[in-house]
């Protein structure tokens, strides 16, 4: 079985976001990590590899520096890493990103493609389903549990108040949730090997059946009209009182606002 896992290098938003004086994101001041949902997708692929035997290829689109997450993935157990990088690919929205990944993946043989549900920088959850459409294969989003059954996958697909157990013929694309599993650590041997491993680098010329008009900023149907630091509602009152006085203070507010 051949599995392709799409991963993305993202700024770690957990410790807060840093801005340049001009209001743009200061990526250099933030740690770059493998997107958590993607890491769960990679772990799911590695478990399938452990259980059924598979070749796992990780692919990322980004700046040359994104090679770091490919090496991390290979240190965890992925077999091959592909970096798709080219200046003409910059500024892509989800349409152009999914077009790029589709163009790259058309070079590969695959039974299963796994992507994270969403990346923590954009939170769109769009690239996975869009990629599946471009490749004309079924998609199962929000996967909780993945099993192989002959030429099909059986997946629990999460909804708000239920889950569906779905069966799809491969090739198929699955989007994974960070809650899916606890990703394994890199092994010391894995880190050593991954450091030396060869990363395949592809540019625009390697994309199959892809129009220039669908790539990068120019190929992106959506455009940013405005971006700003979020303006929050200002703080109200804050009091430090003893417990009984605190209760009286809250009661006074609840009564004057007619809550009770």
């Amino acid at each position: 079985m051949k599995i392709v896992v799409c991963i993305k290098q993202v700024p770690d938003t957990k410790g807060g976001v840093k801005f340049n004086p001009d209001g743009t994101l200061d990526r250099s001041a933030m740690l770059a990590i493998m997107n958590p949902d993607d890491k769960a997708g990679l772990e799911a692929a590695l478990r399938l590899k452990d259980q059924y035997g598979a070749e796992v290829t990780v692919i990322t689109m980004g700046l040359p520096k994104a090679e770091e997450v490919l090496r991390e993935a290979m240190a965890m157990g992925a077999d091959k890493g592909i970096l798709v990088t080219d200046r003409v690919l910059g500024g892509a929205d989800t349409w152009a990103t999914s077009q790029t990944l589709a163009g790259a993946i058309r070079n590969l043989e695959y039974d299963l493609i796994i992507t994270g549900r969403q990346a923590i920088d954009g939170d769109t959850a769009q690239v996975g389903p869009q990629l599946s459409e471009h490749l004309n294969i079924p998609v199962i989003s929000y996967a909780q549990n993945i099993k192989i059954d002959g030429d099909s996958v059986i997946v629990e697909r999460q909804y708000d108040d239920r889950y569906h157990v779905l069966k799809a013929k491969m090739p198929c694309l699955i989007t994974a949730l960070a809650e899916l599993n606890e990703p394994r650590y890199m092994t010391p041997g894995g880190i050593f090997d991954a450091y030396d491993a060869e990363i395949t680098v592809w540019g625009r010329a390697n994309l199959v059946d892809t129009l220039d008009s669908n790539l990068g900023l120019k190929g992106s149907p959506t455009q940013i009209a405005k971006a700003s630091d979020k303006v929050r509602k200002g703080a109200g009152e804050k009091v430090v009182l003893d417990p009984a006085e605190s209760v009286d203070y809250i009661m006074d507010k609840l009564l004057t606002k007619h809550v009770i």
Binding site: P11, T13, G16, V17, L25, W95, S98, I120, D121, G122, D123, A125, Q126, P129, Q130, S132, E133, H134, P138, V139, S141, Y142, Y159, D160, D161, R162, Y163, L166, K167, C172, P221, T222, Q223, I224, A225, A227, K230, V231, R232, K233, A235, G236, E237, K238, V239, L241, D242, P243, A244, S246, V247, D248, Y249, I250, M251, L254, L255, K257, V259, I260
Partner: protein, 347 residues
């Protein structure tokens, strides 16, 4: 693509088990506002099996027209037949705007459809306006009027971006549930109803549903609550949530929680407020022992009145609270519950 051909505001009227989801009516309400600004109409697209009975409700909440795609293949949500239905509706009727709920269904359906018809899609919007793009004139660039300006948080709620889709139609957005307002219901209001069936031919993309497992719960939907008593890690233990439940009972509210509480396994995911949980805007939000991570604030800061109780004076929750009380919740909450009971008994 001749952009002029595309007219009208369309909304996907999500239904599950032949009941309209709250987001369907919220989108009809918002779609109506946008349609008014554009001098056009709002059309609900209703997709399912045996769903025509839902038209009355959509009409009474403001839909001018309803397109019904009714087919046995559409009984349960599956990506392919639903994407086919919606994409064919768009190809035939050519809307200028297509809104979809940012639900577990809509966030799967929207990208698949936008990729099929080649247009842009903006995810998880919290604000929609009609305006100019570019917002301010730029020399050498045409300023287009009557564009859909789609505003959404990004970077975990740290930034906010406004997106346009000037050269492709329809302008598509998924919209976060609980943010837009329903229009008031008008009993007896009528809509034009049109039935449309593009034909469904199952292939490999029609995945098979082997089993449907519904979560058994009698949990009240926290998005409908007028008063929420929300607890965070500071509550200390699942047992200690009793204090919050008592307060909720006394004040006539519902208990909700932060992500940390769900991650710790103290409360189910259905009660989680925040970026990866639910967006709520109750009349009163009690934040008890919640520090106020940015992802949590994104889900509750639109509440009318926010009352925070936290022992950490520097907790970010105090930056959005109308009334912040620095102190020990274990002492304050039980006393508050008693006082509320007394006050209610006297009325």
């Amino acid at each position: 693509m001749n952009l002029e051909e595309y007219k009208g505001v369309f909304v996907f009227a999500q239904q599950v088990d032949n009941e309209l989801s709250g987001i369907a009516l919220e989108l009809v309400g918002k779609g109506k506002d946008l349609a008014k600004d554009l001098g056009t109409e709002v059309t609900a697209v209703l997709i399912g099996s045996q769903v025509k009975g839902l038209c009355t409700e959509l009409a009474e909440y403001g839909a001018d027209r309803i397109i019904v795609v009714d087919d046995p293949e559409l009984k349960e949500y599956r990506t392919e037949p639903y994407a086919h239905a919606l994409a064919e509706v768009i190809r035939k009727y050519k809307p200028e705007i297509m809104l979809i709920g940012a639900t577990a269904i809509g966030r799967d359906l929207g990208p698949r459809v936008s990729a099929r018809i080649h247009t842009g899609l903006t995810a998880d919007c919290t604000q929609l306006d009609i305006g100019d793009f570019p917002i301010n004139p730029v020399p050498g660039k045409e300023q287009k009027h009557n564009q859909l300006l789609m505003t959404r948080p990004a970077f975990g709620g740290n930034t906010i971006a406004t997106i346009a889709c000037p050269d492709f139609r329809p302008q598509m957005a998924t919209v976060r549930p609980g943010v837009m307002q329903k229009a008031p219901r008008v009993e007896g209001a009528q809509a034009v109803i049109e039935e449309f069936n593009p034909g469904f031919t199952p292939d490999n993309k029609y995945v098979e549903i082997l089993e449907i497992v519904k979560a058994v719960s009698d949990i009240e939907d926290i998005m409908d609550a007028k008063i929420l008593v929300s607890g965070g890690r500071g509550v200390g233990s699942p047992e200690n949530f009793k204090l919050l439940e008592d307060l909720a009972d006394a004040v006539g509210g519902t208990v909700s929680c932060s992500r940390a509480v769900v991650d710790a396994g103290w409360k189910p995911k259905a009660l989680q407020v925040g970026q990866t949980g639910k967006t709520v805007r109750p009349h009163v939000y009690f934040a008890v022992g919640i520090s106020g991570a940015i992802q949590h604030l994104a889900g509750m800061e639109e509440s009318d009145i926010i009352i925070a109780i936290n022992k950490d004076e520097t907790a970010p929750i105090f930056d959005v609270a109308d009334y912040g009380v620095v102190g020990d919740l274990n002492k304050i909450v039980p006393m508050l519950t008693e006082k509320i009971k007394e006050a209610k008994a006297q009325k």
